[in-house]
Amino acid sequence: MHSFGYRANALLTFAVTLLALICAMSSLSDNLNSPSPSSHVKVLNINWFQKSTQGNDEVSMTMNISANLQSLFTWNTKQVFVFLAAEYETPKNSLNQVSLWDGIIPSKEHAKFWIHTTNKYRFTDQGSNLQGKEFNLTLHWHVMPKTGKMFADKIVMSGFSLPVEYR
């Protein structure tokens, strides 16, 4: 009964159980980390602003994004996915969230960045409500662990507005 195969099987079972346990513990250890990220976004220019043929307002703008997300990285972090979204309310929709730019940060060294960019994704409304619209720019991040639970959080920056006239 206590053969070679039996012992190998028992060892493998126990080893895998322990491996699962240490992975769970490393995932839990992420909770000890209290990050303090910072970010600043400036809208430099509205390149163009018009109504498309489908009747939806669309904007193109140039932004300056700087952020320091180094404190998000722990030993169990595979990457941080960071993106900037415009958030606003319209008579039809209680919440509109439109991603404008995103990026993948593979390591802590790259987590302090500064970028000058136009919006990577189209800033299009459902309808024609963007004239003179006030909106928030929110920097979201999703922390991808090597194993375990994913974390997400955001910084809201308010006080942005679009021009009243199409251009």
Partner: protein, 93 residues
Amino acid sequence: MDWQGQKLSEQLMQILLLAFAVVAFATGYVLGSFQTMLLIYAAGVVITTLITVPNWPFFNRNPLKWLDPSEAEKHPKPQISSNSSSKKKTSKK
């Protein structure tokens, strides 16, 4: 492998693996490297396998002394059966 050896190998396996897991986690956490943790643990599993799975001579230090069958016939003991069956059960575990 004899009975004592089986017990020894099982305990060795559990203690070694647990020790390696603790060491791996601590090292990984302190160095902040997930990869180091996995490498240490993998090495630990390999070492433990080499120590406890093959039938090493030191697991056979308490060989069974079987009674000669002709000897056993001379001393029939009816109450033994319950005793031995319970023993068998615990040894299997």
